[in-house]
């Protein structure tokens, strides 16, 4: 066995082959710089040794009990009788609760109301928890819940978006914003078209399922360790269900085994359930969902049914668009208001719509309440517009890329339908750079040639952009806090309100603190998010984790530096300008001190070595009543060019090549950022290709395990996959000119869907855009191919009749 090289223990690494750097230094300087900025994930060594602890890995105390829930078998049904006698008698069962046993509020909604911890008189969806059991083992709890005798009075469940629209059954009021007289323009235009698209949802399938561990504290409170993106909400809701003040609850999150939005609001219900038992029984309670429970009981990405009508010129320039976006929210609002808002804010994607009316419906259905998922409605808002751009291209018989380039935001065509200006010129140059590096034009010619000569296989190509707004659209969430302590040996403890779910947030904030301090990052210890360290935090979501927490951490560092420098200024009688910290050395005029030495000195002179930092995003604000404003601090941009090959007889396909160029501003950590881009793309590709959520006619989820819900595996990787960073700084003041990266790359996968449709369109000689479902499963591609083929046959028949 080989020794762990020095490099690993020092945590500085060579650059992975994919990483590109935005800097212009000499080779030596560059490699040193790259080692620093490509710092490995703070948990990497633990990850590869199985030593990184997730909630379920924490040592169990002997008396820890385990929770399972009894699930509703009917949606929108009255519970006529509930007999739990056999459940109580089951082996290992210690406690059983129903809604009435919840000491405080049974409502665990994140923003509005209606999400109940346990069902009351009526069930909201199939799988909803009706009662819960605490037992001596996980297996005992799972076995016991099956013994309940429940009688229902069934009522017809409402399961489809179209039905909800027809019945005007919404969880929240419809919103819209508009510019110009869209209807008039469309009616008077020479060219117009309409389309619709059903976009299915997506199961998060975080590999670590939902889980919480609650322990009673001596003051009648609870310490809860949760796999959650939002510890503050866990804290708030646990306090609410227990009926205690928030200060009696501490929520802690060290890391998640994936979140992707699924643990933004819905992790809290597990914490609440565990906390209710922990308080009743005064012993530790663990609630880990089985995979099937997780898939049935927690919300997913929203299905959407989108309709669009657009007017355009003979050259394909868009004049107006009327876009209706209807999101399937499920039984309650959860986070759906923001999700449908974000779909609306992204219905323009990267394109200037001179006149636009964008309407968002929040449809209620008797299904599990859908929730945040990477992109938060943005992907669904964008997809139908990208379909619309392809439709226009086919209608005017031009290459879709030409139509996209013609309509993309640019100088003087830079205002979004909601009034925010696009202040930087990134989109067009980025698209053109990718057009060149991916050899789009040359490959388009080759594909035409290939498709002309091959009947059974068709190739498709698409280059699609992404423009994604960065900031929470709920303004108050755009704030963050951090807490930094420097100890007398010079070691630094870092805490902030953000949570680590694999996106590399902790690694990046550690780098930011090291850089801002001027010290080696090995001095810095990152620590679990805890509500008693940094309070009132926002969820780690909206891609804004690094932006918000990084700026808060910088604020905290600067407060401590201020203390240190003020001390040095007076103690050594040196002007402030001549005091600084660089490479772990404190410079005070002509004197130099090792960092630890200087810290010890400062402590002895009674200097505060701890600070909290705070940040609020500037410039933002959106007025819903006028539909105008600036919801986003800035936009992250990107583009992807995907090529596919499809079997015309079966619809089977392969993704042969993907080129991505993505804008993360000046990257804080290119290796982490490129990982996010690769992973986000693959996740988006799953959403639009193989991941098909299926429900039966009564609203029961049929795709409730990995056996019947297929997320991408290594074999689904594009054969040729090239990811590069676009070289540009963020024009807004953000953490070292970087940009957010978490969500935007997911939408790069829209290029795959468009490429599949392009391959099908080739069968109709690109005269129509055949309808393609989302996800574009093999069956869906087959049907799309058939539609194109039938069109072509009808054209041939017609031309035959004419001659």
């Amino acid at each position: 066995m080989r020794k762990l090289p020095e490099a690993y223990t020092k945590k500085s690494f060579s650059v992975p082959p994919t990483a590109t750097s935005a800097t212009q230094h000499s080779d030596n300087e560059r490699s040193a710089h790259q080692r620093k900025i490509n710092q490995i994930h703070e948990s990497a060594i633990k990850h590869v040794q199985g030593k990184a602890q997730y909630v379920d890995d924490l040592p169990n105390t002997v008396n820890t009990l385990h929770v399972a829930t009894g699930k509703a078998t009917h949606a929108n049904a009255k519970i006529v009788s509930l007999n739990l006698e056999k459940v109580w008698q089951a082996e290992g069962v210690v406690d059983v609760i129903v809604q009435g046993d919840i000491p405080g509020s049974a409502d665990v909604s994140p923003v509005f109301s209606g999400d109940v911890l346990l069902a009351g008189q009526t069930t909201q969806f199939v799988g909803q928890p009706i009662f819960a059991v605490a037992a001596t083992s996980y297996t005992a709890a799972q076995k016991a819940v099956r013994l309940a005798e429940i009688e229902y009075e069934q009522q017809t469940p409402l399961l489809r978006i179209q039905e909800a629209l027809a019945q005007q059954d919404f969880v929240l009021p419809t919103q819209s914003f508009h510019r110009g007289d869209v209807i008039k323009t469309i009616n008077e235009a020479k060219f117009s078209l309409s389309g619709e698209l059903t976009i299915r949802g997506q199961e998060h399938f975080y590999l670590e399922g939902q889980i919480s561990l609650a322990q009673p504290t001596e003051d009648g409170g609870i310490h809860v360790i949760s796999s959650s993106q939002h510890p503050t909400e866990v804290q708030k809701l646990v306090a609410s269900v227990l009926g205690v003040p928030i200060h009696k609850v501490q929520a802690e999150v060290r890391r998640m085994g994936g979140g992707f939005g699924g643990k933004e609001s819905q992790a809290a219900t597990l914490a609440c359930m565990a906390a209710v038992f922990a308080q009743r029984l005064q012993q530790p309670i663990k609630y880990r969902m089985s995979r099937q429970d997780d898939m049935e009981q927690t919300g997913k990405r929203h299905d959407f049914w989108n309709q669009y009508t657009t007017a355009f010129t003979a050259q394909g320039e868009i004049l107006a668009a009327d876009i209706k976006l209807a999101g399937m929210c499920g039984c309650t609002a959860d986070l759906s208001d923001g999700i449908v808002d974000r779909a609306m804010f992204h219905a323009d994607n990267a394109y200037y719509l001179p006149q636009a009316r964008i309407t968002g419906y929040r449809c209620r259905t008797d299904t599990v309440s859908n929730t945040a998922f990477r992109g938060f409605g943005g992907p669904q808002g964008m997809l139908s517009t990208e379909a619309m751009l392809d439709d226009i291209a086919r209608a005017v018989n031009l290459d879709p890329l030409d139509i996209r380039k013609q309509n993309v935001y640019r100088k003087d065509k830079d205002e979004t339908p909601y009034g925010q200006k696009i202040e930087e010129s990134v989109l067009l140059p980025l698209i053109e750079q990718l057009e060149n590096t991916s050899q789009y034009r040359q490959r388009r010619e080759e594909i035409h040639e290939f498709n002309r000569n091959n009947r059974w296989q068709k190739r498709g190509l698409a280059l699609t952009p992404v423009k994604f707004g960065i900031s929470f659209t709920s303004k108050h969430l755009n704030q963050a806090g951090a807490l930094i302590h420097v100890y007398t040996d010079g070691s630094i403890h870092l805490n902030h309100g953000g949570t680590e779910m694999g996106q590399g947030l902790y690694t990046k904030i550690k780098q930011v603190v090291a850089k801002e301090f001027g010290v080696d990052s090995d001095r810095i210890m990152v620590s679990a998010a805890r509500t008693d360290k940094v309070p009132n935090t926002s969820p780690t979501a909206a891609s804004a984790g690094t932006d918000l927490n990084g700026m808060a951490a910088i604020d905290a560092v600067n407060k401590i530096k201020q203390n240190l420098f003020t001390f040095a200024e007076h103690y050594y009688k040196v002007e402030r300008e001549r005091i600084f910290i660089h490479d772990d050395i404190v410079h005070v005029g002509d004197q130099v001190f090792a960092f630890a030495e200087f810290i010890k000195l400062a402590y002895m002179q009674r200097v505060s070595l701890s600070a909290n930092g705070f940040y609020r995003t500037p410039k933002i604000g959106f007025d819903r009543s006028t539909g105008k404003g600036r919801p986003f601090y800035y936009f992250a941009n990107g583009a992807a060019c995907s090529e596919v090959i499809v079997d015309t007889m079966t619809g089977e396909y392969k993704i042969t090549r993907v080129d991505i160029l993505h804008d993360v501003g000046e990257s804080i950590n290119p290796a982490v950022d490129i990982g996010q881009i690769e992973g986000g793309f693959i996740q988006g590709m799953g959403w639009l290709t193989t991941e098909e959520l299926l429900w039966d006619s009564q609203g029961k989820l049929m795709s409730n395990s990995p056996a019947n819900y297929k997320i991408p595996t290594v074999g689904d990787l594009p054969e040729d996959f090239n990811v590069n960073l676009y070289q540009a700084k963020n024009h807004e003041q953000n953490v070292y000119s970087s940009k957010a990266v978490g969500e935007p790359p997911l939408m790069l996968a829209i290029s795959v869907w468009c490429a599949l449709r392009d391959a099908c369109a080739s069968v109709a000689d690109y005269k129509i855009s055949p309808p393609l479902a989302a996800p574009a499963t093999t069956e869906a591609v087959y049907h799309c191919m058939q539609a194109a083929s039938q069109y072509q046959q009808s054209q041939t028949a017609q031309s035959g009749q004419r001659t």
Binding site: P16, G50, D56, P706
Partner: protein, 153 residues
């Protein structure tokens, strides 16, 4: 009573006959590097070696693993220096990290069986393990790196 050979140690535990190896490893032996992902042998988070072959620990009754040699991520190397573990760090493969023990164990069995796998063989061999973060490009590269470096080193 059940006697198992895990990571070179013979351990005797009390476990009921219907418990899977996964839970014996995690709850009786405290070897929590092996993860629960789906409980159905379809995600690979629980991958361990049984007599050197990659297996889903959630699909094997602990009793059936008696008289075998079991290796978990904790036993793959003494100090985390298996060529795959080093390559995994070098390629910055893990994101959330949850599936990675299973991925590395799957890869270790693959290269033990086939020390110079082609890219196709790597993809084929790794297909049973899911990573929701999409670290697949780096999993492939890390295996290629480990194979290359181990060969030269």
């Amino acid at each position: 009573m059940l006697t198992l050979n895990v990571n070179g140690q013979v351990v005797t535990i009390e476990a009921s006959s219907d418990v899977s190896l996964l839970w014996v490893l995690r709850e009786h032996l405290g070897l929590t590097g092996t993860k629960y992902g789906c409980g159905a042998g379809m995600c690979g988070a629980c991958t361990v070696h049984i007599d050197g072959v990659a297996n889903f620990a959630c699909q094997i009754m602990a009793a059936d693993a008696a008289n075998t040699t079991i290796t978990t991520i904790e036993g793959l190397s003494e100090d985390g220096t298996h060529p795959l573990q080093l390559a995994w760090i070098e390629e910055q493969t893990p994101q959330c990290g949850y599936c990675q023990s299973g991925q590395i164990m799957r890869a270790a069995a693959l290269i033990a069986d086939n020390p110079k796998p082609t890219r196709e063989e790597i993809i084929d061999g790794m297909s049973a393990n899911i990573c929701r973060c999409g670290s697949y490009p780096r999993i492939v590269r890390a295996i290629e790196r480990a194979v290359k470096e181990d060969h030269h080193g």
